[in-house]
Amino acid sequence: MDLSRLRGGSGPGIRLKGAQPAPVVASNAYAYYGTAINISGINISAGMTQLCSIDVPAGKEMIVLEAQIASGLTSTQQAAYWEFEKDGEVVLSTGNVLQSADRMMIVGKIGGETTDRLVSNLVVNSNMKIRAHKPAGTSVTVQVTYILTERS
């Protein structure tokens, strides 16, 4: 994490907007706090499909703690490609196999998965998008967890 991006408030310098976000992980041994976006039933066409677009409110920065795609594919189907766009620029992308049991971590730091886990705590100033290319007629689930901080 780039701590220089965390400013304002007290303690470690994080000023969260509004109420304390809810714990994302259920077990209190590893509870961490953030706001979770969960989207299911995103149908993907044969071409590159935008799975979600998230706009950050003015005056805020979004620290993305975790972003992942989970599929409902059979083991014989494969995902070809995904990409993560931050503030108008594709910053992360890969071609990979996404099978039924896989969860592709685009951004994240909690282990257990065997697929991509590229960076942690990615900071978004205005907008982020996640896209993927997979066989037509399949649907995926996207989960994004973040905190908002004040931008000075």
Partner: protein, 154 residues
Amino acid sequence: MMQIINLPDGVTLNINEGATFHPEGLPDNRAVYTIKNQVATSEGMPLQLFAGNYYCQPGDTVQLQGDITDSSGNTATEINLPVTVKMPLVRHANGQPTTDEIYLNVALVNGVITATGKIERSGDWKILIERNNEALQRIGADFKLVAGDITFLA
């Protein structure tokens, strides 16, 4: 067509038509199983459950075995894992979980779970079912366990 969803914190979410936003989290559709016929051993010797705890010595190799059973009480023989996975054992202090974990090796064959590992240090080590359900979810398992937490006092 896009759906535009304004979140309470000012974030705006754009998703495709037909997709569903879940403000309360994704629905949990995993099948639910329980653990029956649970047997614990230490260095191959049976451990007796006393006051809710299994007592063993630091450095002992412990093993926990049980049947994964469905709502009818039948062993779910269709449940198998192709590889040996890890089961977290979380050390507690004064009744509270710490971030200190060790991992047992877990084989799950024809609905029979066998977890084996060495508890090197003295302490209150617990298998937290919810923590393990999170681990199962992470590896894409389509089931979860409902059972009490299991404690080894070493």
